[in-house]
Subunit: 348 residues, 2 copies
């Protein structure tokens, strides 16, 4: 990509002169101006991004808030999402600006500042909920955005709220079916407290496929805040109960890692356990896990914002004439060795 310096050198003028030709051409001698314009054309120079922004009021930048650092195991999904967003945005010659915020209201303040300064063209939101202040403001001000995560509690088909999500219910259902096909008869569930759009969906996939009556379901399911220790504690509880499970499916890899440690310590290293997110830790310890197709999520999000190959943001749609959301299918990654027990490695 040629720079202002390249143009200046090619035209035999100063950088300031090139700038004048671009921004205040009337003050430049005609012969000089023509020489600079020829150099610009020859080199394929693109004007100063900020100047273009002012003229068109559109930058080529996506804004996304980084989730607060959590235990780094489950949180790794969003970091991987941001990495892939940066990679795919780059292929479309888009920029990605990140910021942090203390909550939805603080995030909205950032969104307003970035939008007003024409710093950001479109926003990617993570985890919206019904009545979400960010979503409401963005829709009201016709600022393009897409969510990763369904806007639970609202009209999922509202075309003004573009979203991409992964079908966690189907992913967990598939995992449970696989376990039952391998002979498990009492598949337990460790997940998150209700209400949680994402958590309730995943649990519903377990409830749908486990083949257990209501009382047994109650005996074999637990809910807790996410975390390795929490998963270990609840797995220990389940394994020492009257109705012990012969397999455990968890809402996250953090919970599943805890369950795996507890099962190993309880002398049940071969107890099948399935996590969710297919984090690097799952690969490292030999844990089966449901994989979120993040490359497809990012591709779908960018398509909803920018179209198949364009670089200009699509205006927010008013009708249902074009798809405004995508639900993607996750895939179970099965691993057969509990590396915690073997301390060995046979690949993932």
């Amino acid at each position: 990509m040629p720079t202002v310096d390249d143009v200046a050198q090619a035209a035999g003028v100063s950088r300031q002169t090139v700038s004048n030709v671009l921004n205040s051409p009337a003050i430049v001698r005609e012969t000089t101006r023509e020489r600079v314009e020829r150099a610009i054309a020859d080199l394929g120079y693109r004007p100063h991004a900020s100047a273009r922004r002012l003229r068109t009021r559109r930058s080529s930048t996506i804004g996304i808030r980084l989730d607060p650092l959590r235990d780094g195991i489950s949180g790794a999904v969003l970091d991987r999402f941001v990495h892939k967003l940066a990679e795919q945005a780059d292929a479309r010659d888009l920029r990605v600006m990140i910021f942090t915020a203390d909550g939805p209201d603080d995030e909205l303040a950032h969104i307003r500042r970035l939008h007003d300064g024409s710093d950001v063209d479109a926003f990617v939101l993570i985890g919206t909920v019904h009545g979400d202040v960010r979503q409401q403001w963005l829709i009201e001000h016709r600022v393009p955005f897409v969510s990763f995560g369904r806007p639970w509690g609202g009209d999922l088909a509202d075309p003004r709220h573009r979203w991409v999500d992964v079908d966690g219910r189907a992913g967990v259902r598939d995992a449970v079916n696989r376990l039952r096909a391998s002979g498990a008869e009492r598949v337990a569930w460790i997940g998150w407290p209700s209400p949680s759009g994402t958590g309730d969906e995943r649990r519903a996939g377990w409830a749908e496929a486990c083949g257990l009556d209501g009382a047994t379901q109650a005996a074999l399911s637990r809910s807790t805040e996410d975390g390795v220790e929490q998963g270990a504690a609840l797995a220990r509880e389940l394994l020492s109960g009257a109705t012990a499970p012969d397999a455990i499916v968890c809402a996250s890899d953090s919970l599943a890692l805890g369950a795996l440690m507890a099962a190993t310590a309880a002398g049940r290293p071969d107890l099948p356990i399935v996590g969710f997110d297919n984090t690097p830790v799952a690969g490292a310890v030999g844990l089966s896990s449901v994989d979120q197709p993040l490359d497809e999520v990012v591709a779908a999000a960018l398509e909803l914002l920018f179209g198949e190959s364009g670089g200009d943001v699509r205006p927010n749609p008013d009708s249902n004439e074009e798809p405004t959301n995508r639900l993607l299918v996750p895939r179970l990654v099965e691993r057969r060795s509990n590396h915690l027990a073997l301390g060995g490695t046979t690949g993932a």
Copy 2:
């Protein structure tokens, strides 16, 4: 932060009129212009960021390349660094723009584009090496930057190359001393192949403190590409050797997790093992680890770029009159329970 809309509303004019007052005041009727200027002053409105950028040719944005996704355990350090950078930049009203690249040359191409478009004010580089093309270009073009990581192979005191790093040698030395004070006599090392600025420094800390002669050092040290499986394989090898270690220190948490799994499987769950980076996985499995003080690293990096509280980038220094680098001391986080063996949790 007031917006153009707020000013327009307060002054009772259109958004376009406010824009004209800011950019083409001559075309606005004087009474209208005064009314708008009064509203701007009353509200404390700051002009359009891109307009300010053009006038001052300085945006308030830091650029940083995201490291390619690795196994996500050791790589988590850089993700945490980026999070903290975004948090602290926010407190200084700075923006952070991220991008990905295929290697130093691709990264330099990005740097040039972002700099030329006045998209980015200053860059943070990760892991520079002597002769690094990015560093050379940035110095040559007087573009402000700071590295996280010493510029190995070059003049570490070169004031044109601002850097912040963590004293890994001291961190490992301290860990080895702690192990020996607890009774270990054959502390082994698993690290990365030479040459590696960071890896060689960490190993030097082990060599300095282990109290072993050359032959024993050779018998009790291994090097490998980073990874959990690699760590497990080498730990197994060490533990089954003639001179078995009674403690193992590793260059990363990935290696240490592998070593911990191998030791547990070999019936040595209490073998002291120390990793590096204090990643969330270390906390989850009860692994002792050397913690990098990332908050201090980020604070030091921003201070080197922007001064103690300023928001204007300092020009690259030419002399040694002010400090241009910082070496920070890491801290060993000791954990006493191997959760892999107990499957239990007693906190970190």
